[in-house]
Symmetry: C2
Subunit: 267 residues, 2 copies
């Protein structure tokens, strides 16, 4: 029997452009993001791990966190993580997959939109200082391992904008095509924005953060939290949602130049 190729980094391709399925995936990713942030918040900021050269690793020029991030991506690349359309690497000099290539049904147009450089920069500059105690607790390895998990979860969520954008494009092809040809970012922004969905998201995320980040070890009168729940809602409102929309808009702007994605299999 010929071996059927199996997917390691798979998303359920045939249903991937159903807006309800995309929303379910994004909603479940909220837990992953909150868990990862709560884990990172155990440790101090530890500026040293973000400072290139502060911890000298022979053969690597860069910050300690980037050494671990690149090493993790290199390992995952060998099992073809980044051949999956919902995964976008931070580094572009990764090894080739050791596993045989998969013929993915490509639900989105081929594209090179990748905002990981901004994610990496803002994460260090804004998110870590917001969720972690100031200072240095020497927990460098543990902090950096948490950083890798946070960065991967945030990157996956934000780049999911490509699936969101493709789905919206297909439901209003003529309108989107007009905006894209005019290069009208404002019109695209308005077309992809659903204020009601966003308002529900912010309420839900704050409630999740209050539940999953709740301190249960101490008998306090008032609940205490490992991360302020409001902070997580603000992170979504001020950073994750806008950045996702940037991905959507960038994706749409090159949408017409890219080869048309395959039609989903009839089923």
């Amino acid at each position: 029997m010929a071996a059927r190729p199996h997917c390691c980094y798979n998303v359920r391709m045939t249903s991937q452009l159903d807006l309800e399925n995309i929303r379910s995936a994004l909603i479940r990713q909220e837990e992953t993001i909150i868990f990862a942030l709560v884990e990172r918040a155990q440790f101090a900021v530890n500026t040293r791990i973000y400072t290139p050269g502060a911890m000298q690793i022979p053969g690597f020029h860069g910050a300690f966190v980037d050494y671990l991030l690149r090493g993790t991506e290199a390992l995952h690349a060998t099992v073809r993580r980044y051949t999956s359309p919902d995964e976008n690497p931070f580094f572009d000099d990764l090894p080739a997959p050791l596993l045989p290539a998969l013929s993915f049904h490509a639900p989105i147009a081929a594209n090179t939109v990748n905002v990981n450089a901004r994610i990496r920069r803002d994460y260090e500059a804004c998110i870590v200082p917001a969720i972690c105690a100031a200072g240095d607790d020497e927990q460098y390895g543990s902090s950096a391992v948490c950083d890798v998990a946070c960065l991967q979860a945030l990157s996956k969520r934000i780049h999911y904008g490509k699936f969101v954008a493709e789905t919206k494009f297909r439901t209003a092809r003529a309108e989107f095509t007009r905006f894209i040809k005019a290069g009208d970012r404002a019109a695209l922004y308005a077309a992809i924005t659903d204020a009601e969905v966003e308002a529900r998201l912010l309420l839900r995320v704050e409630r999740k953060a209050a539940t999953y980040g709740q301190e249960l070890n101490l008998a306090h009168a008032a609940p205490t939290y490992k991360i302020k729940p409001r902070l997580v809602a603000e992170l979504y409102r001020d950073w994750i949602i806008p950045l996702t929309k940037d991905v959507e808009i960038e994706y749409l702007l090159i949408r017409l130049d890219a080869p048309e994605p395959e039609a989903p299999a009839a089923g």
Copy 2:
């Protein structure tokens, strides 16, 4: 200025043998373990990733999960994770650290107690089938990445038994020495067991699992959970606690043969 060696995989050594500090660390690790299990429970069992040869990776003989686990350990070994006394690798053929060695204050006696082979086996045989849906959803990469996080969290927690044992040994050195010299496992078991602490732990863990594994997306009348809270309490009662005690006993049985750990610095 001479660079002060910095620790990547550090535990706060000077206070590491204070039983209250050890308990705090173990309590915080409960969150890490529950988060990791909840993340893994998103995906099906995916037996294929545990079956050696089912996914052939050139140059690697073993299961897909072990490829990712070994690769992750190899990366972390280069930043000296496994030189820290609270980290125990699953693989013993890991590369040497690229970072300069640290002179750890060694709070526990040098020892080779390592139950990771049992952890790995039981995790696959019992834990994954208990928390994941049966079958195969082809989410191999995501599942295996979660497995690595689960295995590392469980291993760290269980091997913390060494610190627990050393601390208890120091508080009743004569009594423990007598039991050790007699090879009296039953007496050691009784001496390290604190039924009241265990009962509190089980209640706390079930409450944490009910909170952190709670489904918040759906408006159900009764709360629903990503993992049954009772299951997590049972995992602790029937597996984590007994295995931790095994580590404690094995540690104690070779305690007198090992070089005496350094006395903590006066301070």
